[in-house]
């Protein structure tokens, strides 16, 4: 049985009829065409699919779209405003926080949550706050620096 969902995504109200088993990440990518949210592992481990649901970082491969009915979802596409990069995005740009870029959307979303909860994190706290996000390229060092850069900006 299909269900109607009403979800506010990056500030716009969207509604669709979906199967209950449709994962939020597939709703975002396949139904809305917001392919900035990546699928890295499908097994809840890599964090590439991280989005904010009502302000909380969640792995959108581990949530059904029906669970987000009535929620506010923010994906990487919702971060830059008026052509201006979000400070965390700017940090990744300035400090070379990415190579292939696969993990980057999830990293930026998780890092924004981290800075919201702890505006001046230590390097240790940044690593701890991003433990749910895996990167196979950078060795994390530049990601940590990118978040430090953003912390100074915000």
């Amino acid at each position: 049985m299909k269900h109607f969902v009403h979800i506010n995504v990056n500030g716009a109200d969207r509604s669709h009829e979906v199967e209950p088993r449709l994962l939020l990440v597939h709703y975002l990518r396949d139904v809305l065409g917001l392919t900035g949210t990546h699928v890295g592992c499908e097994t809840s481990l890599c964090g590439a699919c991280t989005v904010l649901v009502d302000g909380q970082a969640v792995k959108s491969c581990t949530m059904f779209a029906v669970q987000a009915d009535g929620a506010h979802v923010k994906t990487i596409e919702g971060f830059a405003a008026d052509g201006q990069l979000h400070p965390v995005q700017e940090g990744f740009w300035e400090r070379h926080g990415l190579q292939c870029g696969y993990c980057t959307p999830g990293m930026i979303v998780a890092a924004s949550q981290l800075l919201e909860r702890n505006p001046a994190p230590s390097r240790e706290e940044i690593r701890h706050g991003l433990e749910g996000n895996l990167c196979r390229c950078t060795g994390y060092q530049h990601i940590v620096e990118a978040v430090e850069y953003a912390a100074r900006k915000v």
Partner: protein, 288 residues
């Protein structure tokens, strides 16, 4: 990794959820944070016909002090427990255990009730809940009952919950004065779950000796358990390094040991002892 088809309902009251369970029995499954159930459904290990999503029962997410207890609603997330400043003062084992679970995203969604009801042999909460001698308040369409933590975990992924019951609340007695807590865990390098996790609550007498101790162990056997041998060895004695090390040798007494790629049975026995020692030492050192 697409789950099998299912029907979905998101009741807005607990009564509605309970009558759905009563009506559908084994066909239905509760969906809480979904961070054990959804991965299992994606692998098709679980194929429930109906999901009853209790995620909209916001009044099941709370942390209260009442009747000499800390009362935690089943839908309280790991993050809510981890970040509670009040709990850090009155029952520090709860936030310490919460912070040891998975990663930030998992802690934002996963709930204490879901973890306990799932009863994964490597889950963290069962160790803490046993060490704190908590009580589970369980409801069904016909009434409510209380299950002590030591009777709640029955077997691998099996609890004393009946299919028509919902775990509503966890009641933790407020720790007596001169009590220290600690949770010591060896996380699995890939999954983050406990290869071994030991939660200890140690109460000193006025003279500094051990008045009582309770120790919960997870990851070691098919279900979490109280290490009664350790507790008995500690009771009434000094809490020096030697005494604690001696008591910790009983950490895996009388249990069948898990064995997997992360740790052989022998290694797990060894780890249980080491992590019991660390948890008890740290708990004892925190008694002011």
């Amino acid at each position: 990794m697409i789950p099998a088809q299912f029907d979905y309902v998101a009741p807005v009251t607990l009564d509605e959820a309970l009558s759905l369970l009563a009506e559908h029995q084994d066909e239905a499954k509760i969906l809480a944070g979904g961070h054990s159930l959804i991965p299992a459904m994606k692998l098709r290990f679980a194929q429930p016909a109906l999901l009853v999503d209790i995620g909209r029962l916001k009044d099941l997410a709370y942390i209260r002090e009442e009747g000499g207890q800390v009362r935690v609603g089943a839908m309280t997330t790991h993050y809510q427990l981890e970040s509670s400043a009040r709990l850090r003062e009155i029952c520090p084992l709860l936030p310490e255990c919460a912070a040891a679970i998975g990663d930030v995203q998992v802690r934002n969604k996963g709930t204490i009730g879901g973890s306990l009801a799932h009863s994964d042999p490597a889950a963290d909460w069962p160790a803490a809940i046993l060490a704190l001698d908590a009580e589970m308040i369980v409801v069904s369409a016909v009434g409510e009952r209380a299950i002590p933590a030591s009777d709640f975990f029955v077997d691998m992924l099996t609890t004393a919950l009946a299919p028509n019951e919902i775990l509503r609340e966890i009641r933790v007695p407020l720790p007596p004065p001169r009590t220290g807590h600690a949770y010591a865990k060896l996380p699995h390098p890939a999954s983050g779950f406990a290869v071994v996790g030991v939660a200890a609550s140690v109460t000193r007498g006025a003279d500094g000796t051990c008045e009582s101790a309770s120790v919960g162990v997870t990851g070691v056997s098919v279900k979490a358990y109280r290490a009664r041998g350790v507790e008995l060895a500690l009771k009434g004695g000094a809490l020096g390094q030697q005494e604690i090390a001696g008591a910790a040798t009983h950490a895996a007494d009388g249990v069948d040991l898990n064995e997997d790629l992360a740790a052989s049975a022998d290694y797990r026995r060894h780890l249980a002892e080491v992590y019991a020692r660390r948890a008890i030492e740290r708990a004892a050192s925190r008694v002011s």
